[in-house]
């Protein structure tokens, strides 16, 4: 590069650099609509936030964060829960360790901020104020899309009113549990980017309107809001798969951003996301890595050794936090605190694998110069073999236990016998019952039937959209096979192991021509149906629950039947695969109803079924939960 070129480039970049705010805005949200999606999602998640432990596994993360914020990697004290031996905690060298260290480390700043707030103000009021400010920001953003200032003035009055109501009803928040709140806040913010990135991806592929409608489908029509404030990996996984899809798309399209000016950077970023995600949950990261490499490398424009080496270096760097944490804990770079969930065959194999790697280090005396290399190759290949075995056994389950597959994916109902916790109520919904909108994916069948293969296969470089489609399908199938042997299982609530299928499924169904044409042409009908189903259907459901239901299991199964009930006509419509005229209107209404039915379930679950001792963050939601006593 000559000096003149350098100056020229610098001059090109100066406007972007000089305006940091604009750049941050563009990098995080893309445009104003992206910011609006983010704020709306944050406000919704804040409404449903309960400051309590939904699931025992979260104790492990809270204790891990507690120890790490005191400068200890090992868990020293059970500040939360019954003790240190909680699900997911692992013992190495006589000490207990947590897992998901990636999110634990990310939550450290939040602990600091919350502790600081606790010192100056009442934590409940502070968090209510933060929520109110997010709502105010949403009002301001929305007012940019309307003529006149009535939205702004009406909205600010509403914000002040809600803030006053919440303060009037406020009870102190236990300031000694900031580690839990910090974890919840981090997960909430990560989860809020899932619809934002999906919006950005689909607004680039299609239109901004379609991107926005997809964000609505994802946020209201899938259990994203339920898991957003639960310190578990699920919300993070969902965000990561969407981010990978977005970067993969950008790596195939001409770069037009202000910060990243080369496509290759986006390609490297996809691998970096996978590497960073390994710090949270290594087995899923490995699956995503395999899926990504299988799709990306054969379809890339440029696979020169230099490019691949650059990607490899970025990937290795992104794995550094994961590797360093593993070495600090277990002494092995590829052995995370817990390789895969207990009960799986992979878990058993890992334990024996650890034993044999111990033997390998003994032999290293003979092959001293090659030992580190061999060790790395061996330890790199073993997880791949384990993953392969798991996927194969997941495939076998499809053939050998069709009943289990049916209960996990279609209708949970009386799957009590399949659960290993006897006496548990029927609160573990199937994938379809949790998100009936996903049934629209059967619309792929008429598309595949009409598909004609290109006459020549020579052109293996696919367009950006096609590459992301193939990646989404590969990851979708991979996640199903990875967890198939273990489902149905207790403590899933909404098939949480399969969580990445929700954003991937929404992406895939929106990509179907019949679906996105119906949505785009009849978006008004779609949005009105969502609103109607939530506001009117929600009240009817509440009455049904109050009159006919005796407990949470029956309530969940009522919602499950409603979901299956809307899934049947939606599935039939999707199979017809038509979007012209009346068929398009019907499709938009059915898609809206499926989204609304899931949203009603989400709202009632957070307010009533899993109120967790009326632990809502917002006092007004607590009061609503106390008012509603449905069984």
């Amino acid at each position: 590069m000559t000096a003149a070129e350098f100056v020229g480039r610098l001059r090109q970049r100066t406007p972007a650099l000089s305006n940091t705010r604009e750049t941050t805005y563009a990098v995080l949200f893309g445009d104003r609509l992206g910011l609006t999606v983010f704020l709306a999602t944050v406000v919704l998640f804040g409404l449903l936030w309960r400051t309590a432990f939904l699931i025992n596994d979260s104790y492990t993360l809270a204790n891990g964060l507690y120890s790490l914020s005191n400068g200890q990697l090992a868990m020293t004290e059970a500040a939360y829960g019954p003790g240190l031996e909680t699900p997911g905690a692992n013992r190495y060298g006589g000490q207990w360790y947590a897992r998901n260290y990636g999110v634990i480390a990310l939550s450290l700043p939040a602990v600091f901020v919350l502790d600081l707030l606790t010192a100056v103000v009442e934590l409940r009021i502070a968090l209510v104020a933060l929520w109110s400010l997010a709502l105010l920001a949403l009002v301001v953003q929305c007012s940019h899309y309307t003529d006149g200032d009535w939205v702004l003035y009406g909205g600010t009055v509403a914000v002040l009113g809600l803030f006053g109501l919440n303060v009037a009803l406020a009870q102190p928040l236990d300031a000694g549990r900031t580690h839990l709140y910090a974890l919840q806040l981090t997960h909430l913010l990560i989860a809020a980017f899932t619809p934002v990135v999906l919006y950005r991806l689909l607004s680039r592929m299609h239109t901004r309107r379609l991107g926005l409608l997809s964000a609505v489908v994802l946020t209201a029509g899938t259990p994203l809001a339920f898991w957003a404030t639960v310190p578990k990996r699920h919300a993070v996984t969902g965000a990561v798969v969407v981010c990978i899809a977005y970067c993969l798309y950008r790596s195939r399209e001409p770069a037009d951003g202000s910060v990243i000016t080369e496509r290759q950077t986006f390609r490297a970023l996809t691998y970096a996301l996978v590497g960073l995600y390994a710090w949270v949950h290594a087995p899923e990261a490995l699956l995503l890595c395999v899926a990504l490499a299988l799709v990306d490398i054969p379809t890339a424009l440029d696979n020169s050794p230099r490019t691949l080496a650059r990607i490899g270096i970025v990937f290795a760097l992104s794995l550094l936090p994961f590797i360093l944490t593993n070495i600090a804990i277990s002494g092995s770079p590829v052995k995370p605190p817990r390789l895969i969930s207990r009960g799986g065959s992979l878990g058993g194999n890992t334990a024996s694998g650890a034993g044999s790697s111990g033997g390998g280090s003994g032999a290293s005396g003979l092959l001293t110069p090659l030992a580190p290399l061999l060790g790395t190759v061996e330890s790199g290949v073993r997880p791949l073999l384990l993953l392969g075995g798991e996927l194969v056994s997941g495939f076998k389950t499809l053939q050998q236990q069709p009943d289990d597959v049916y209960h996990a994916f279609v209708r949970s109902g009386s799957a009590g016998s399949a659960l290993d916790n006897t006496g548990e109520e029927s609160v573990n919904l199937s994938l379809l019952e949790s998100a009936p909108i996903l049934v629209a994916m059967v619309g792929a069948l008429p598309v595949v039937r009409r598909l004609r293969l290109p006459s020549s296969m020579a052109d293996r470089t696919l367009s950006g959209g096609r590459v992301v489609d193939v990646f989404a399908i590969t990851a979708f199938v991979g996640v199903i096979l990875l967890y198939n042997t273990r489902l149905p299982l207790h403590a899933q609530v909404t098939a949480r192991y399969l969580f990445p299928l929700y954003p991937l499924g929404v992406y895939l169904l929106v990509r179907l021509p019949a679906v996105h044409k119906s949505l785009a042409n009849h978006w008004y009908a779609f949005l009105w149906t969502v609103a109607g189903t939530v506001l009117i259907g929600g009240q009817v459901t509440v009455m049904f629950v109050a009159l006919t239901v005796n407990g949470i299991g029956e309530a969940f199964q009522l919602h499950a039947l409603l979901a299956v009930g809307i899934a049947v006509p939606l599935g039939i419509w999707a199979l017809c695969g038509r979007s012209e005229g009346r068929a398009g209107q019907v499709g938009a209404v059915l898609l809206g109803a499926a989204t609304g039915v899931a949203a009603v379930f989400l709202l009632l679950t957070s307010v009533e079924y899993y109120a967790l001792g009326d632990a809502h963050l917002l006092p007004m939601m607590r009061a609503l939960g106390e008012l509603l006593a449905l069984y």
Partner: protein, 162 residues
């Protein structure tokens, strides 16, 4: 434009100002207060009549739910006198199942002259329910300043509804 900016800024200022008021910087103001703890089992309750349920059922879960649900109708209580915060207890015992369930009701002035004393629902698994009928006992007792005492008790048939 100026006016909208002023409105938004002032709302932000109000929210932040109120938040600052809540903290130890302004010790005289308490915005978030614990609910007042009330003295339970205080006062006095005298029951004039009690209408016990005729039948308690254990029903197979509706909507395809896997469990059986206990469905006990409420006991209707008529008060002759009610002061303070006494407690009424609804208790169901099914000896053949080795099962007891109690629900406490903390009464106050808002209870009125009559009160529906409910028993919280519960679940049983398929394995637990082996017969079509069980014998049980329903007991209503009170706890107030005068002490603990049984108000009424009744033997009852519990039928299983598939």
């Amino acid at each position: 434009m100026e006016r909208t900016r002023a409105v938004v800024t002032s709302v932000i200022a109000i929210i932040l100002g109120v938040t600052l008021l809540s903290g130890p910087l302004v010790p005289s103001v308490t915005l978030a207060s614990e609910p007042e703890s009330v003295a339970l089992e205080s006062g006095n309750v005298t029951v004039s009549t009690v209408e016990m349920p005729e039948e308690v059922t254990i029903e197979k879960g509706s909507y395809g739910a896997a469990s059986y649900y206990l469905d006990a109708p409420p006991v209707r209580i008529h008060f002759a006198n009610l002061t303070g915060r006494p407690t009424l207890v609804y208790k169901l015992t099914i000896e053949e199942l080795g099962y007891t369930r109690t629900t406490n009701h903390f009464l106050d002035d808002s209870a009125g002259d009559t009160y529906a004393l409910t028993l919280a629902s519960d679940t049983f698994t398929d394995e637990e329910i082996e017969r079509e009928q069980y014998n049980g006992t329903v007991t209503v007792s009170k706890r107030d300043e005068a002490g603990h005492g049984v108000v009424a008790t009744r033997n009852i048939t519990i039928s299983v509804v598939e």
